[in-house]
């Protein structure tokens, strides 16, 4: 079997040690880093993403695959010239001010990282200013907010309005989620989109940033 195909298959199996070894071998064989990434690691990860989307595999398998992907990716990073390294996108996430329930938000963070996004997790009880300032200063693509409580839903609206006033061009998109959030709620407050669970949130964020 071809080396890159072996990388893809080992990644799909979640075998991070094997992916690490094979990537090392590919580098030693002077295969171009972009080829190792595109035709090895990303091919495997795309299969995993599709299987996950079709509910053929579940959270743990995706996370194992993601761990394996990073075992390869971390070796490739230094080989890319600055700015050439493909970047899926940057997402600032947090549980909004007044709410300390962060399990769902954490799961979204884990899954976003697994899907190759750069995630800046602001934690819980995050004031509106923090979301907006971080997103602008870090040049993030998306702000993701979560809440479990109905009382803190309006806080999300504050973030969205603050973002509009600070950056009217709409460059930074917003996604919200949590028990009280529905499509209607998201639309009413002007969020770009919403996710009903971690897997769905990742799908929506992918749509927001487009293919890269």
């Amino acid at each position: 079997m071809e080396l890159l195909e072996q990388i893809s298959i080992s990644l799909q199996k979640g075998d991070h040690q094997k992916v690490y070894d094979l990537t090392k071998e590919a580098i030693n064989n002077n295969l171009p880093p972009k080829e190792i990434l595109d035709d090895g690691l990303l091919v495997g990860m795309n299969v995993i993403s599709e299987k996950f989307r079709m509910h053929e595999i579940f959270l743990p398998h995706v996370l194992l695959a993601a761990k394996a992907m990073y075992a390869g990716l971390d070796q490739l990073k230094p080989l890319f010239i600055e700015g050439e390294m493909p970047n899926r996108g940057k997402v600032v996430i947090g549980t909004v001010h007044g709410d300390l329930h962060d399990i769902g938000k954490n799961l979204v963070g884990i899954m976003l990282k697994g899907a190759g996004f750069e995630v800046i997790d602001l934690g819980k009880n995050v004031p509106a200013e923090n979301f907006v300032e971080t997103a602008i200063s870090e040049e993030a693509d998306v702000i993701g907010m979560s809440t479990l409580l109905t009382t803190t839903v309006p806080v999300m609206k504050n973030v969205i309005e603050l973002l509009k006033s600070k950056q009217p061009n709409g460059k930074v998109k917003t996604i919200i989620g949590g028990a009280p959030i529905t499509g209607e709620v998201a639309m009413e407050m002007g969020a770009t989109t919403y996710g009903y669970d971690a897997a769905n949130a990742v799908e929506r964020v992918k749509q927001l940033v487009g293919d890269r």
């Binding site: 979640g14 509910h55 959270l59 743990p60 799961l107 884990i110 009903y196």
Partner: protein
């Protein structure tokens, strides 16, 4: 630790058994079969042939119990063991012999056809928690006189799992036995590896018809297992109290054990039944009544006390559709039966007082069975002492989703039902089409049928089965069997 449930103290069981033995020795049973009466007479029972009556004796009953096997196994058509009826092991099998099928497309009942039976047999083949087929529906497109053998024929032609079945006539036994010998190869191999269990139903109170008593004798001669299906109805044709019903059930079942064991000591049997309370308001026999289920679990305890493997018609419902009642009665029944250790649990798929079968319900019930079987695994430590390192890992990593410990035990510790059981949050449920339980079950049925390829019998064996069935059908004026190309 396997969780267990008990309704009866050992003292009460002894009292019930003693009382029922006393009844058999004083009142006896009506038995409408001269051959069986003569045999019992030979063993010292007091027989009144003109009045079709026999009064048993304590030593005869004891002799029969002494030779009753404590366990037996069933094997699929290829001879692979599937059911071990021993101890507290439980196996689910679909409910049996429904006159109607609930048609998914218009949600109405109708008479089942050959095509329905074939779909049923194919579906059962793919259900992992259903360990045997039953001849669950009675195809209405063949002559009445072959509707029993025809069910077994279709089950053997399309399914792999052993078959819980029975005859409606004395004559049908011959071809049903021959079909089994065809599958196994020889009579001895059939005896070695039983393929079917035949239901044998005494008539309450305390009666055996010519057909059913002969059937017990015929099965015993060939060591084909039987399950005794005594059906006392509390408050109507049995005492209203659950204890009184149990006494009557015990007496009727013991009389069956005597017929079997005197015919062939050691012939395999299940201590079974289908008792029910009688609901005087509706004049019905609710199988989903909690008292009915309690009687089932309790007679199973009596069966175990007497040293026999057990069976019951439980894990079914009296609902007319796949609704909340269908789920709750089936779920409660499956749970109680499993906790009680009823070895063969007959019920999944059945609705409407055992008169209506639903393929969608069978697919749903398979998931109920899966959950129940998980429950029986109990709670067992798996590298849980010490738990400290796990929590250290959790604090460091933020989650245990891909911890080695999680990956090792996830599928052992948690049973994941198919999507008939809705575990999506509401938005995802909406996103996936807002499907009702019935729609999800129907989708699952279709998927299972799509996955079916064929059973493992050779073409030669199948040809011989067809020949036997066609010959039997001709006896009753049917020149051809219904088409099977569905």
């Amino acid at each position: 630790m396997r969780p267990k449930l008990k309704f009866l103290s050992e003292d009460l069981i002894r009292q019930i058994v003693d009382e029922s033995v006393g009844i058999l020795c004083k009142l006896g049973v009506e038995l409408n079969n001269v051959e069986v009466l003569s045999m019992l007479s030979d063993y010292g029972a007091e027989v009144d042939i003109p009045n079709n009556h026999v009064t048993l004796k304590e030593d005869i009953i004891q002799k029969a119990l002494d030779t009753s096997p404590k366990s037996f196994k069933l094997y699929d058509v290829s001879g692979v063991e599937t059911n071990d009826f021993s101890g507290y092991k439980v196996h689910f099998t679909p409910g049996s012999a429904a006159l109607n099928i609930l048609d998914y497309h218009d949600n109405r009942i109708r008479k089942p056809l050959t095509s329905d039976y074939i779909k049923y047999a194919k579906l059962v083949n793919g259900l992992d928690h259903i360990k045997s087929q039953s001849t669950a529906i009675i195809p209405a497109d063949v002559h009445d006189k072959i509707s029993d053998s025809y069910r077994l024929f279709l089950s053997l032609l399309y399914g792999d799992k052993p078959v819980i079945t029975g005859t409606f006539t004395i004559e049908a036994f011959e071809v049903m036995k021959n079909m089994q010998i065809t599958v196994r190869g020889t009579e001895a191999e059939l005896k070695e590896k039983p393929l079917t269990v035949f239901s044998a139903c005494p008539t309450s109170p305390l009666k055996w018809s010519d057909v059913t008593s002969q059937n017990v004798v015929d099965c015993a001669r060939y060591s084909i297992p039987v399950e005794f299906i005594s059906m006392p109805l509390s408050g109507f044709i049995a005492p209203v109290t659950l204890t009184g019903t149990l006494v009557q059930h015990t007496a009727e079942t013991l009389s069956g054990i005597v017929i079997s064991q005197l015919t062939n000591p050691g012939a395999p049997m299940l201590y079974g039944g289908s008792p029910a309370i009688f609901d005087v308001r509706y004049e019905t026999t609710p199988m989903g009544a909690i008292e009915t289920m309690m009687i089932d679990c309790a007679y199973n305890e009596i069966g175990k006390y007497l040293g026999l493997p057990t069976q019951a018609y439980i894990a079914l419902s009296d609902a007319k559709q796949l609704d909340a009642q269908a789920g709750l009665e089936t779920g409660i029944g499956a749970t109680l039966a499993a906790l009680s250790g009823i070895n063969s649990i007959s019920g999944p798929g059945m609705l409407d007082f055992e008169s209506c079968f639903s393929l969608e319900k069978l697919a749903l019930d398979n998931e109920i069975c899966g959950m129940t079987l998980r429950m029986l695994e109990g709670i067992t430590p798996k590298e849980d002492f010490p738990t400290l390192p796990r929590l250290e890992e959790l604090l460091q990593e933020g989650h245990l989703l891909i911890s080695d410990h999680s990956m090792k035990y996830l599928n052992e510790e948690q049973y994941f039902p198919k999507p008939i059981i809705d575990r999506a949050n509401r938005p995802r449920w909406i996103d996936e089409g807002s499907l009702t339980l019935g729609e999800r079950a129907h989708r699952q049925v279709k998927e299972s049928l799509d996955q079916y390829s064929s059973n493992s019998l050779s073409d030669d064996v199948k040809k011989e089965l067809v020949r036997l069935m066609e010959k039997e059908a001709k006896k009753y004026g049917m020149d051809a069997l219904p088409a099977r190309d569905v």
